[in-house]
């Protein structure tokens, strides 16, 4: 299967001095869910911003490497052109338009869509996924709860009918029950609409639970990638990302290995 998105050896510099991505590569295949995991400051959001064309807005710059979407180079395109190509980012931190109503937020999500009838059908679909939004339709988005805001930003993305949806930490600050619900819906969107999803998360457990492939990044680079089965059975991943200590007998030996492995993650 050909890749939908291909990022090759990406290098990103902020303010001309801060090197944040140091040769990052990843691929997303059509219709799949891919997880991008890593701890705080690893450069996950920067990766998404580079793909969406947001870097110039933050004085960031791609200094090396390239990004291809459906075989076309994205580097240098303005954000609104990238959205028109079917690539939609749901930014970190639930960026609803607080002064706009739920309805108006959704209208913005469908900004690139032309057919009113189609928008209405998509809207009905959103309400099936998130019935609460229908009840809150005329309310200011700034007054929604955190969970409702997360549902709103995902619905906004659905209305843009992207071929690839990039979600930046959708679980951030939500109660575990709600996180589970949101992830189920992300999976449903992928299955029902065929939307490919690039899922940035700190919650590795949840993210790997719905993905087919995963990348783990540290310090601006991918340090490990593989199918989800492979990652879930990897001892490093279990220990550092899934919070499972291993139960090996040889404690002292393990400590040495632990140190080496730890070093690998942080180097």
């Amino acid at each position: 299967m050909p890749s939908l998105l291909e990022v090759n050896n990406l290098e990103v510099l902020y303010n001309n001095i801060i090197l944040v991505l140091k040769g990052l590569s990843l691929k997303v295949k059509k219709g799949t869910i891919v997880a991008l995991l890593g701890s705080n400051g690893a450069g996950k959001s920067t990766t998404l911003k580079a793909i969406s064309g947001f870097l110039p807005l933050e004085d960031g710059e791609i200094t090396d490497g390239n990004i291809e979407y459906q075989g076309e180079a994205l580097t240098g395109l303005a954000p609104h052109h990238i959205v028109k190509k079917g690539l939609f980012q749901v930014m970190e931190g639930r960026r609803v338009f607080e002064d706009l109503t739920v309805e108006e937020n959704l209208i913005c999500g469908a900004y690139t869509q032309k057919s009113r009838a189609q928008i209405q059908r998509d809207l009905d679909k959103c309400f099936e996924y998130f019935p609460i939004l229908k009840q809150r339709y005329k309310r200011l988005a700034g007054y929604l709860s955190g969970g409702e805001q997360q549902m709103l930003v995902i619905s906004r993305a659905m209305l843009a009918k992207p071929t690839l949806m990039m979600l930046d930490e959708p679980s951030m600050g939500l109660a575990p029950m709600l996180v589970e619900e949101i992830f189920e819906i992300i999976q449903k969107i992928n299955e029902n609409e065929g939307t490919a999803i690039l899922l940035v998360e700190q919650n590795a457990q949840m993210a790997l639970g719905i993905s087919s492939y995963g990348y783990i990044m540290e310090n601006g680079r991918i340090v490990l990638d593989g199918s989800v089965d492979l990652l879930l059975n990897d001892r490093d991943v279990q220990e550092f990302y899934l919070g499972m200590g291993d139960n090996s007998e040889n404690v002292s030996y393990r400590n040495v290995k632990h140190y080496k492995r730890r070093k690998r993650w942080l180097s």
Binding site: P79, H80, K84, Q89, F97, D99, I107, G142, R156
Partner: protein, 294 residues
């Protein structure tokens, strides 16, 4: 009592016209956070273009006004594209200086083209005064008010319901999120300058129709300033209510106090009220603070 009512009602009508010009400020500020100190000059240029179209080319207002709208939109859009686009990210004070410079340039251009003498407009509206009970209203003022309100309502509807209006409000609310929706944020800036210039120039035609036009017509822009601050800079409703309030106040102050002070109170009153209101409500009557979430 009759004088009081007369002053209130005519002040109200003047205020409605101020509101339209105030909208010229607000439309630009809301999207770009730029206070356009050349709003008054946009107004003046609009009035002169209309004057030329109707006096020199003898065009009917039904052709002249649409042409002024097109010209104003072009002027606003060009100013944004050629000047302010390149000021993105510069300190506020530089941007303010640029708009002040722009106002002087437009004033100079108007003097070169039209000279500095006073010109009066051909009649736009029926001349017959409007009489309601004891109150007598000058027809130019009355119809000017009605026209201004129609334009304000059209802008309100566009902002509330049209896709471009929603996108402009989204841009004003969170630029980066607006980018992520596929909204071309920079073109929203251009459109808001075009809209601001249209509002100001239509206000210019209405004012020119009441009192004639000369290059210094734009100085009314200074009077509009307290209105927008009063209304909260980024609120269309605020501009309307601020405009009406200042119109009434100014008229009352002029009617009752000027006779005792050799005039001048009329122009002072709006600023006094501005200071008092800002002391109580620093964001203006309708300005948005961050929405506080619990």
């Amino acid at each position: 009592m009759d004088i009081f009512l007369q002053l209130i009602v005519s002040g109200f009508l003047v205020g409605g016209i101020y509101a339209l010009i105030a909208l010229g400020f607000v439309l630009i500020y809301k999207a770009t956070n730029i206070i356009n100190f050349a709003t008054g000059e946009f107004m003046m240029i609009g009035a002169y273009i209309f004057y030329s179209l109707s006096v020199y080319l003898k065009l009917s207002p039904f052709i002249g006004i649409p042409l002024v709208i097109v010209a104003a939109a072009l002027l606003g859009a060009l100013v944004e594209r050629l000047i302010l686009r390149h000021m993105l990210g510069q300190p506020n004070i530089s941007i303010i200086m640029v708009t002040i410079g722009l106002s002087s340039i437009l004033l100079g251009i108007a003097e070169i083209i039209w000279g500095s003498s006073f010109r009066s407009f051909p009649a736009l509206f029926p001349r017959k005064a409007i009489i309601i009970g004891e109150i007598v209203l000058r027809s130019n003022l009355f119809y000017g008010f009605v026209t201004a309100m129609v334009v304000v309502v059209v802008f309100l509807l566009v902002f509330k319901y049209a896709k471009v209006g929603v996108a402009m409000r989204a841009t004003a609310n969170d630029q980066i999120a607006a980018f992520s929706m596929g909204i071309n944020v920079k073109s929203m800036f251009t459109i808001s300058w075009a809209f601001g210039a249209i509002a100001a120039s239509l206000g210019g035609i209405i004012i020119g129709n009441i009192g004639g036009v000369q290059p210094t017509l734009g100085h009314i822009g200074l009077k509009i300033f307290p209105i927008v601050i009063l209304g909260g800079l980024d609120s269309i409703m605020g501009a309307v209510i601020g405009g009406l309030l200042v119109g009434i106040l100014e008229n009352l102050a002029g009617g009752y106090l000027d006779p005792y002070f050799h005039g001048g109170v009329k122009d002072l009153a709006p600023f006094v009220v501005l200071i008092i209101i800002l002391l109580i409500k620093p964001y203006g009557l309708f300005g948005t603070k961050e929405i506080e979430r619990l």
